[in-house]
């Protein structure tokens, strides 16, 4: 065991290298982004489902809607409060994007943060960019 010092030094360097991402990024974690609502969405007060559910499970809703619309031609969604909604992502004023027309601030912000890239907009036409 004559190389004890070399081995320990090597191990220390390896350990530092291994944990580099952790201490390099310490304290730099970006805060969870909060999606911005448009004035129209704020005025409407309620979405198709409660806010918490929409936050966590909106992709499930979109999936159910997609199959319902494409395969069964069901296009009217009646929410818990009895309100009727047009089951559509991007067509018309009463679709998802009709209300949430600020895609960059509403969708992309969180999707970027969570590093998910849904391919909705490969085919569906984005709402026009807001003029500021």
């Amino acid at each position: 065991m004559n190389d004890k010092n070399i081995i320990i030094t090597g191990l220390i360097i390896f350990f530092v290298f291994l944990t580099f991402p952790f201490w390099y990024n310490m304290g730099k974690a970006s805060p969870v982004p909060e999606p911005k609502l448009t004035d129209k969405a704020k005025a409407a007060k309620e979405c198709v489902e409660p806010k918490e559910y929409m936050k966590a499970e909106h992709m499930q809703i979109l999936d159910i809607w997609r199959d319902g619309v494409v395969r069964e031609a069901n296009r009217v969604y009646i929410s818990e409060t009895g309100k009727k909604f047009n089951m559509s992502l991007s067509t018309g004023d009463d679709s998802c994007m009709g209300c949430h027309s600020n895609k960059a601030d509403f969708c992309d912000k969180c999707h970027d943060y969570a590093s998910v890239t849904p391919y909705c907009w490969d085919c569906h036409i984005e709402p026009p960019k807001e003029k500021k």
């Binding site: 489902e49 409660p50 918490e52 559910y53 966590a56 499970e57 997609r66 199959d67 319902g68 494409v70 395969r71 069964e72 031609a73 069901n74 296009r75 009217v76 969604y77 009646i78 929410s79 818990e80 089951m87 991007s90 067509t91 018309g92 391919y119 490969d122 085919c123 569906h124 036409i125």
Partner: protein
């Protein structure tokens, strides 16, 4: 290692502890999903309904290529169909072809002049027994209860089995991203993406809100759609009073597009 009663008991104890954690982990895993009420989903009350959709094209009302243009244009515009410059990339939902190509079996040397030179409108036949539906490995293409053969573009993987199966050549493949080739995007309908097959959808999106298909609307009455199972429908009336032909009926696919020649 020397086995002893002591070491065996130790091992057994740890294993029992390990088994005990599973229900705890399951409880954690099931949390976090918020509850939702059983939502109700309905059809639009204005939607046009039929037991079996069909179309009758009265070719006597067409004279030249110009008569077809507004019809094809209406479809192209509504469905965001790209206009490719390269012929091999072209996308068709509805287009025209000659009698000898459209009605292969009915063609002969002495076909009358009008029919010989008249272009015929062709589109997806929305078959009774669609070969494309059987060929599709992902169920992206399916036949709806009302007879319309539809595509779920979300599911299409672009294998093109359906194109090989379709005896009418009604399907087109997006070899390129269609977006740059669409002059004017219709915001009410999505475009497609590269690597997806597409075809006529009998304007399912228009039927769902109570409008007739775009081609029928633009045809000044030369194209009529209706319910084949309703003896009172306009389609049945036309079929009763006129001699009609269909494309390649001998294949047994049961096309739902009828032509009055």
């Amino acid at each position: 290692m020397k086995n002893s009663r002591r070491s065996f008991l130790k091992l057994a104890g740890i294993s029992a502890l390990g088994l005990g954690t599973k229900p705890v982990l399951n409880a954690f895993a099931s949390g976090g999903h918020s509850e939702k009420h059983e939502a109700e989903i309905q059809k639009n009350p204005d939607a046009l309904k039929a037991k079996r959709w069909a179309m009758v094209i009265d070719t006597r009302k067409f004279e030249s290529e110009e008569d077809f243009e507004p019809i094809i244009e209406a479809c192209n515009k509504i469905h965001n169909i790209p206009k490719h410059t390269n012929k091999r990339h072209e996308i068709y939902w509805i287009w025209v072809d000659e009698f000898k190509h459209v009605f292969i079996n009915q063609e002969h040397e002495f076909v009358d002049d009008r029919v010989k030179h008249l272009p015929f409108l062709v589109l997806c036949n929305h078959c009774e027994k669609p070969a494309c539906v059987r060929a599709c490995p992902t169920k992206a293409t399916f036949k709806r209860e009302d007879g319309i053969v539809l595509m779920d573009f979300h599911r299409c993987i672009g294998c093109r089995f359906c194109m090989a199966a379709c005896p009418y050549g009604s399907r087109s493949f997006n070899f390129r991203d269609p977006r740059p080739f669409i002059k004017e995007e219709n915001k009410e309908f999505p475009t497609r993406m590269k690597g997806v097959v597409e075809k006529c959808n009998f304007c399912a999106e228009r039927l769902a809100v109570g409008k007739t298909p775009a081609c029928a609307e633009a045809s000044n009455g030369a194209i009529v759609v209706g319910d084949l199972h309703d003896p009172e429908s306009e389609v049945r009336e036309l079929l009763k009073n006129n001699y009609t032909i269909r494309r390649k009926p001998d294949l047994g696919a049961g096309p739902a597009i009828y032509y009055i020649v």
